[in-house]
């Protein structure tokens, strides 16, 4: 094996004191996420006596107004290019803390970077708690598809995190802040290793049929009931299902009305479902129905009668006729 790999295996010989500052890496297409993250980084940096750096494509004056001391423009068009650029940049500018704006893309890059730098990354964080005395951040992040949360910390440097959107409030901008704009970061080959960007080639869109998901395993389900629905609104519900990639089902009354067949009745006398999102339109929602959708993670209920039991276990409620509400929802999609 070549020396390049052995070095990575033997571990970095840099001492932890050489790592400094908080670095925001922004690979997202809009600025709301990164600006709020910058605000938080500013707060942490002030308590640590450190600088805040912004790496990304945001307008530098905005980055500075949100808390950055230094702006390092970066614009890359592939994950490989991002990893390559960040890895070589961080080799010289040893970061103590790196915060990415989380996305599937950024999570992968953060992990690859962590591997490259012999450290760790915690992705999709929903809170970061800095302990100034130990200079350690304890991050809260969801596991088992959000069933519960772990509090984790990274014991090596740099501490790399990707932070979910909406964790921090909208950024406050201080136009009076000053900062410096550094040179743009480029992807550059590391040592003598060939650029990995040449090794993955995009082939474009392909046709792919994922295996059909049965109702009982569907991640999204929209179900209709008799109340406040008619043929037309049931048709709209089907359109919504098609649009959002949901399975279409109904309760017992929908079966009686002929809108769903026997295999698409949701409830204890029927199919039990546990989707991520469950929309019940016109379903009364008695205990037999409730038991059948117990596992649903987020329940949206639309029913004209505010006494409907479904509202007792729905996270999001609209009191109204599905035949009025559903078309409006469809228009918003």
């Amino acid at each position: 094996m070549d020396m390049y790999n052995l070095e990575a295996l033997m571990g970095d010989t840099t001492s932890s004191e050489d790592y400094r500052d908080l670095w925001i890496v922004d690979l997202s297409a809009e600025t709301l996420h990164a600006t709020s993250l910058l605000n938080e980084a500013r707060r942490m940096a002030d308590s640590l006596g450190a600088y805040v750096h912004y790496i990304g494509a945001m307008d530098s004056s905005q980055a500075i107004a949100c808390g950055a001391d230094r702006v390092h423009p970066l614009s890359v068009d592939s994950a490989d290019a991002a990893v390559s650029a960040l890895a070589s940049f961080f080799e010289t500018h040893k970061p103590e803390f790196v915060f990415f704006t989380a996305s599937y893309y950024a999570n992968e890059i953060a992990n690859r970077l962590a591997g490259k730098m012999n450290s760790g990354a915690i992705t999709d964080c929903i809170s970061l708690r800095l302990d100034e005395s130990t200079r350690e951040i304890v991050a809260l992040h969801p596991v088992y598809d959000g069933a519960y949360y772990l509090d984790s910390a990274i014991t090596t440097k740099p501490q790399i995190f990707t932070v979910r959107e909406g964790v921090y409030p909208e950024a406050m901008k201080d136009k009076g802040r000053s900062g410096e704009v550094e040179g743009a970061i480029h992807e550059s080959p590391l040592h003598d290793a060939p650029s990995t960007a040449d090794r993955v080639r995009a082939l474009g869109k392909v046709e792919f049929e994922s295996a059909a998901t049965p109702l009982r395993k569907a991640a999204k389900v929209i179900a209709v009931g008799r109340k406040g629905n008619d043929e037309a609104s049931v048709g709209v519900a089907r359109e919504i299902a098609q649009k959002i990639g949901a399975a279409f089902a109904g309760d017992r009354s929908a079966f009686d009305a002929g809108w769903v067949d026997h295999d698409h009745i949701v409830g204890v006398i029927g199919i039990e479902i546990a989707p991520d999102v469950y929309i019940a339109a016109g379903i009364w929602g008695d205990t037999l129905h409730r038991a059948g959708v117990e596992g649903a993670k987020y329940v949206i209920a639309i029913h004209p009668d505010k006494r409907a039991p479904i509202f007792q276990y729905a996270d999001a409620c609209i009191v109204g006729e599905p035949k009025e509400v559903l078309p409006k929802v469809m228009r918003l999609l």
């Binding site: 049965p214 009982r216 026997h262 009745i265 204890v268 006398i269 029927g270 205990t287 037999l288 038991a291 117990e294």
Partner: protein, 388 residues
């Protein structure tokens, strides 16, 4: 002393349970409503070894012994008694009779296809005039040159309508009758003279096809004799003895399903402002179910262990079938009661479980016969011979 099963059995149970829950449970209701188990499902089961669990690999089986077989039957009956019955009749008494006493060449000829699910097996003993009085069978097998001509009828044969190979007991020497004058033959369903009646319409096990078998001078080559001529009754009794253990395991699975559903319902259903689990009447029913199931579980797996260890097991096997069937009946009865009106709905599994359970006290040797078997074993230990 170790009551844990070795890890391979837990791994096996995991795979079996996953298959049963993912592939069979979702269609169990449909199987009961339509009365159809697709041949493709049997093929898929065969491909994973489900249709030859206790038999050695060399014959295409799973090589998992009686313990593995009981695990499979328990998990299968837990989701669908109909499918469990098809498999149980196929393996437990069908192929088993050939496995116990068949010649090497006969086994080599049929077992691989049977274990893989390409062919289905049936065990044919019962006749219109011979149920518990198995020795009263009248199907005749007359020697004609190099083959036997089988003539007569069998009745209530599980897998009858779908079987490719039927292991049938026929009288070869009328003077001696069943004891000493009966022989087991492996008959192929496509042979001339063999036909089946329409599938019986039963209280339960709608997906398990049962029928009359007609033998109108079916020519059976003498190579297809299983075991020894004249000693067929012994072969069949041996087969029934061992078949009882896995039947006990199947009833255990059904009882287990009743308990799990009942515990869940006790938590889900609220009346008078609280979950019904808080009612002592419900608690007592659940406790009784759980205790009975626990005892059955210990009995079944210990008996399977006796079988795999080559130890005597006839008495215990009879107990497995006797207790298993009665415990399962009591459990599903309680389960229906706990579920209230829901327990009577044809769109909810309890009602199907109730209908499916009843047969266990009757087939494969009625519980009265089981009691005779157990008592015979007991008295034999003290020198009194009861069984004829």
């Amino acid at each position: 002393m170790d009551f844990d099963l070795p890890p391979e059995y837990n791994a096996l149970r995991k795979m079996i349970r996953e298959f049963c829950v993912e592939e069979i449970a979702p269609i169990a209701h449909k199987i009961d409503e339509t009365g159809i188990v697709e041949r493709d499902l049997l093929r898929r089961l065969g491909a994973l070894g489900f249709l030859g669990v206790p038999f050695p690999r060399e014959y295409g089986g799973m090589g998992a012994g009686e313990i593995g077989y009981c695990i499979m039957m328990e998990e299968m009956d837990r989701v669908s008694a109909s499918v469990a019955t098809i498999i149980g009749a196929h393996i437990g008494i069908g192929v088993m009779s050939m496995y116990l006493d068949g010649s090497k060449s006969l086994k080599a000829k049929y077992m691989p296809d049977l274990c893989s699910g390409k062919k289905v097996c049936a065990f044919a003993l019962t006749e219109p005039n011979a149920g518990s009085d198995a020795a009263g069978i009248q199907l005749r097998a007359t020697l004609e040159g190099d083959s036997y001509m089988l003539d007569g009828q069998k009745m209530w044969i599980t897998n009858g309508p779908i079987a490719d190979v039927i292991n049938v007991l026929a009288i070869t020497d009328p003077a001696l009758g069943a004891r000493g004058g009966a022989t087991v033959f492996a008959v192929e369903s496509q042979w001339e003279g063999f036909s089946t009646g329409k599938p019986e319409r039963k209280m339960g096990l709608h997906g398990s096809p049962t029928s009359l078998l007609n033998f109108d001078n079916v020519r059976v080559p003498k190579e297809n004799v299983i075991g020894q001529i004249g000693l067929g009754f012994v072969t069949f009794m041996k087969t029934l003895d061992i078949g009882r253990v896995s039947l006990g395991a199947a009833t255990l699975g059904g009882a287990q399903a009743s308990l799990e559903a009942s515990v869940r319902w006790a938590r889900t259903r609220s009346q008078f402002g609280k979950q019904i689990a808080h009612n002592q009447s419900i608690q007592f029913m659940l406790a009784d179910m759980a205790a009975e199931i626990e005892s059955l579980r210990a009995l079944v797996y210990r008996t399977a262990w006796l079988v795999d260890g080559g130890r005597p097991f006839i008495k215990e096997a009879g107990m497995c079938k006797l207790l298993g069937s009665e415990i399962a009946s009591r459990c599903i009865d309680r389960a229906v009661q706990i579920h209230g009106a829901l327990g009577l709905s044809r769109d909810f599994p309890m009602e199907r479980g109730f209908r499916d359970a009843r047969i266990s006290e009757i087939f494969e040797g009625t519980n009265e016969i089981q009691r005779i078997v157990i008592a015979s074993e007991l008295m034999q230990e003290v020198g009194v011979r009861l069984r004829p």
